[in-house]
């Protein structure tokens, strides 16, 4: 396997062209390299990667164009993205890129068990990346951010449609029962935060049902249900929340009221598409590494490790662009 394309014709010369009739007459000619100076596996991997460049370029390009063409796009903290977590995941992928390179180096040096150790470490780092990604997805789902309704509870603006959606949710039989139960709960069984939240919930229930509802009231409702965090890098973590840092949806998780994130739906579609496809690529890489673990990783398998590494570096490459575009822009 380690014989790259150049040496294949040489073996070929020796065996099929024959020693006697081919040597004097054809010999030097046959030494011409008929293909590219790389092994076939690597060539195919590079061809595949060039299609992958276009695949992710299409996704990233669409994201950028959609984002900058949108009248409003959520800030990362509006959609509960955590920049430090994203940076941590970037670091994990960079580390895994180094470990796979080291695995290749040690396999070439015929240090099979060390190479296997690095492959295993790459595998673990990839799993860690997916774990962190899953945790992040969970945080989105917990806030009702899904790529699509009916699961998605994100509304674009606090308008009449939003008001009627909140009213509809509050009118569901199961919620009516829960609200009644909450209203009847004695104050000593609730925390101070829950008591305050119960008071606010009672007021917004009146607000959404009120016939003399003002447009601003719905903004108040939306802010109570799920405030747009003003958390910024400046460290103003709970400034400007009007006294409440968490929304009613956080305090009463069963409530699941519709929430408002201006531009949030398009954001969710692009975010889940981009990170989802990237995560699928990571998953495929993990399968490849698992398969590699069954080989004796000497120089004979260096080509396999190299190809797996090329793929893995590409996955890292995509994340290098995804991280700033999604988390920091």
């Amino acid at each position: 396997m380690n014989a790259s394309a150049i040496s294949i014709p040489h073996d070929h010369d020796g065996h099929s062209a024959g020693h006697d009739d081919g040597h004097g007459h054809h010999g030097p000619v046959l030494q011409y390299q008929p293909g590219l100076p790389l092994s076939r596996g690597k060539l195919i991997m590079w061809l595949f990667l060039s299609t992958e460049i276009m695949f992710f370029a299409a996704l990233l390009g669409s994201y950028v164009v959609l984002r900058f063409g949108a009248p409003v796009w959520p800030k990362p903290h509006h959609v509960h993205l955590s920049e430090p977590i994203g940076a941590f995941n970037t670091f994990v992928l960079i580390c895994s890129s180094v470990t796979i390179v080291l695995a290749l180096e040690f396999a070439r040096a015929n240090k099979s068990s060390i190479a296997k150790f690095w492959i295993l470490l790459t595998l673990l780092l990839g799993i860690l990346f997916l774990g962190v990604k899953g945790y992040e997805y969970q945080a989105k789902f917990a806030h009702g951010i899904f790529p699509q309704s009916p699961r998605s509870r994100i509304y674009e603006k606090p308008d009449l449609y939003y008001g009627s959606a909140v009213r509809a949710r509050l009118g569901e039989p199961a919620i009516i029962d829960k609200l009644k139960e909450l209203d009847d709960t004695p104050a000593d069984q609730l925390s101070a935060e829950q008591i305050a939240a119960r008071g606010r919930l009672q007021q917004i229930r009146k607000m959404v049902a009120s016939p003399e509802q003002q447009a601003f009231d719905l903004a108040v409702v939306a802010d109570q249900v799920m405030p747009l965090p003003t958390e910024g890098p400046g460290g103003s973590h709970d400034g400007g929340h009007g006294g409440h840092a968490t929304g009613l949806n956080d305090i009463f998780p069963w409530l699941r009221l519709p929430a408002v994130i201006p531009g949030g739906n398009m954001w969710a579609s692009t975010y889940f598409l981009l990170t989802g496809f990237h995560a699928v690529h990571v998953l495929v890489g993990l399968i490849v590494f698992t398969i590699l673990m069954f080989y004796k990783l000497g120089p004979k398998q260096a080509g396999k490790i190299e190809n797996a590494g090329l793929y893995w570096h590409f996955v890292d490459l995509v994340w290098i662009f995804l991280f700033p575009l999604l988390y920091l822009f």
Binding site: N2, Q33, L38, A109, A219, L228, P233, F321, P324
Partner: protein, 171 residues
């Protein structure tokens, strides 16, 4: 596997090209042959070089993370941060491609595979600009009415500030 052709490769005119490729081949797989005379392997990669690239990548990640920190001076001009982050990302991508993916040491086929794909990538994004990027320049009044706007964010921020609700029990 290499000894017997190299002299003939240098003896004949056209075959020197093969010799070049062979050299490259030995660069590639210099580690396993055990030829003492090839020190090219040290220049290609080498663990020290990989670790250097790794440190550079970590430093660059920290740099792009700097735009998030309170010490970033151009906080009110997001375009500066965006341009900076893209420059950092491209540098990181270049480092990964050149050194981790060994493209720095590859023959010229690398251009055939990467440049058309990269051009395709750029043009694809550019082609999207008129119909997708500028989709909101001309919209019907009804659509404009239901579209989220920056004013909606400000409205919700005002609602957060306004303290419309009374909080009787929250001491």
């Amino acid at each position: 596997m290499s000894d017997h052709d190299v002299p003939s490769a240098h003896a004949h005119g056209p075959i020197t090209r093969v010799g070049e490729i062979r050299d490259h081949d030995d660069h590639e797989h210099g580690g396993h042959g055990g030829h003492g005379d090839h020190d090219s392997h040290a220049s290609h990669g080498g663990i020290g070089k990989y670790l250097l690239v790794f440190v550079a990548l970590c430093g660059l990640t920290t740099m792009s993370f700097l735009t998030y920190s309170p010490y970033w001076p151009w906080r009110d001009q997001p375009h500066v941060g965006w341009a900076f982050m893209m420059a950092v990302s491209c540098t990181k991508a270049l480092l990964v491609v050149l050194f981790f993916m060994h493209v720095f040491w590859e023959a010229n086929w690398k251009y055939v595979l990467t440049i058309p794909a990269a051009m395709m990538a750029i043009f694809l994004a550019l082609m999207l600009v008129p119909d997708v990027g500028m989709r909101n320049r001309m919209v019907s009044q009804e659509r404009a009415l239901h579209m989220a706007r920056g004013s909606d964010v400000r409205l919700m921020e005002q609602a957060a500030e306004a303290k419309v609700l009374t909080e009787p029990e929250a001491h």
